[in-house]
Symmetry: C2
Subunit: 321 residues, 2 copies
């Protein structure tokens, strides 16, 4: 939660004048978003989000992200839509940063998702995957299995500062994941970061999915594995099979699993736990103490990884074949 880049009123007004949005009525930095700076801008045309893309987002990826949001919204998925300026551009610049105006979505993200929320998530994720099938741009997943070893090496033995023996444990895990990682699963656009703070609800209904800045092409079932990790554990790290069952059933009701996907889910879930554990370990060891954003605790994902390592069948996640 941070505002990394300040925007002066002159810069803001010159920027907004390029759009068909009328005058600016209000402008507030939002304490959300770890990677980018977000402002809530109210104009005569209503509320919008102004996002300034900071250094962790590669500028050459922005047309993919913005194009994807526009495509998914046009396909009927509730997600922010980049607003085009008077010249038809979605990507512009303000305060020396690449920037875009996107539509504002009503809704709240749920701090403690219920089983009903997990079911609604499953349905939405399946619809996102189906809508993504007709998107023509592609972006490889830099944080899939081939990206993990460089991350692992970057932290090295310092991982033991977090949990004694973690470096060796992750090394063995990585060897196994690299050896067993499935490569023949149905591919498509995945969100790749669908944590609870990226899904807005009004009551029990999903009102929108946000933050597509990790979206990429990968195995669709890997996205589900990320959600199993992010939505189906309790605060005490206990796996909640009722929530997992609700998520998986709702997903497969819209988009049924292939036999290969069903079989692969436990290893995908281990991989997803590994992916978030590796970035958290790296951030934990490399975030300076005066950073605006506090790194997330890696321990949560150590426990999740160990849980999935003990799972031998997707039935243990609550889904029958």
């Amino acid at each position: 939660m941070a505002v990394y880049t300040e925007v002066s009123d002159e810069e803001l007004q010159a920027f907004i004048a390029g759009y068909d949005l009328g005058n600016v009525l209000s402008f507030k930095g939002i304490a959300e978003g770890v990677e980018n700076t977000n402002y809530l801008v109210r104009t005569e045309a209503g509320p919008h989000i102004l996002t300034l893309y900071e250094k962790r987002v590669r500028e050459e990826d922005l047309p993919f992200f913005l194009g994807l949001m526009e495509h998914l919204a046009a396909s009927g998925l509730a997600c922010p839509v980049p607003v085009r300026d008077r010249e038809g551009q979605m990507l512009r610049e303000v305060a020396g940063r690449p920037a875009a105006i996107i539509t504002f979505l009503d809704g709240l993200w749920v701090r403690r998702p219920s089983t009903e929320h997990c079911a609604a998530l499953g349905e939405t994720l399946a619809r996102l995957h189906l809508a993504g099938q007709t998107f023509s741009m592609t972006r490889p997943n830099a944080l899939s299995v081939t990206g993990w070893r460089p991350l692992y090496d970057a932290s090295g033995a310092r991982a033991d500062e977090i949990v004694d023996g973690l470096h060796e444990e992750l090394g063995r895990e990585l060897d196994e994941l690299e050896a067993k990682w499935p490569t023949d699963l149905p591919q498509g656009i995945i969100h790749a970061d669908l944590f609870p703070d990226n899904v807005f609800f009004l009551g029990r209904d999903v009102s929108g999915v946000i933050d597509f800045y990790f979206a990429c092409n990968d195995a669709l079932a890997y996205d589900i594995a990320i959600c199993l990790n992010a939505w189906c554990f309790e605060v005490d790290a206990a796996f909640n099979i009722t929530k997992a069952r609700a998520l998986l059933r709702a997903y497969t009701y819209v988009r049924p699993f292939s036999k290969e996907e069903f079989d692969a889910l436990p290893i995908l879930a281990r991989g997803a736990a590994m992916r978030f554990l590796l970035t958290r370990v790296y951030d934990w060891l490399n975030t300076s103490s005066d950073a605006l954003v506090r790194p997330k605790d890696p321990n949560e994902y150590v426990r999740k990884l160990r849980f999935h390592r003990g799972v031998t069948s997707t039935r243990e996640y609550g889904l029958g074949e």
Copy 2:
């Protein structure tokens, strides 16, 4: 800029249900406000601000602050109005913190105030002072001259870590301020923290004054002295007499100075610079490096204090008698 206290969706909805505001549509932490946690809450009744009062605000002062906002708004000043719940309460509790819902004000705070902005500020400040004359509650100014020596002593010789010789310089300054501080000036409610980020504009017009959490009873002219410091210096620390003249003329057009106020302004401006310098020095020396809010640079106020020390008459601020 920080969200110190997280509010769960359950807590939020239970809290909002106590008001006549309908359902919650959106809820976002705002990256503004150093002392408190602020959320923008959109409900069916429109946008509001939810403020959670953190530890630096004394709970026993809250009825004064909330009552003052209600009084000033009723007197026609554009400022946030605390919303009363179904039982008539303005001050409630959420997530273990004292909390209030206040109305949302349109407008932008100006990063680089112009002469026109300074004039609009002067008029608004005078109207605030007049409206405050009929407010019945009182609160002493803990950060006036009697509060400075304890702050000075709390930093002690460590002030020299910021500017070599600063401890001695401030000691001499404090002796002189204590000896010469005027006590016979017209008193009333002052804002006491009217920096540019606390005044919203739509174009050249003030659309609202916010953040009354330092408001107190003190010499009215001291509030003007704070504004001279906060609005009338350029980024390079040069005093802008054109802006000061605009501020003072607009103020005195609405509320003329007494002879004593006119004569006292230079010492009040030194005192105001001292007050912000002392808290900045203290915060600079005592903010842990992992704090969510970075302390403000004290050097800016060292330069301002030295400037005012060289001023012998209010005429040097651009105002004739």
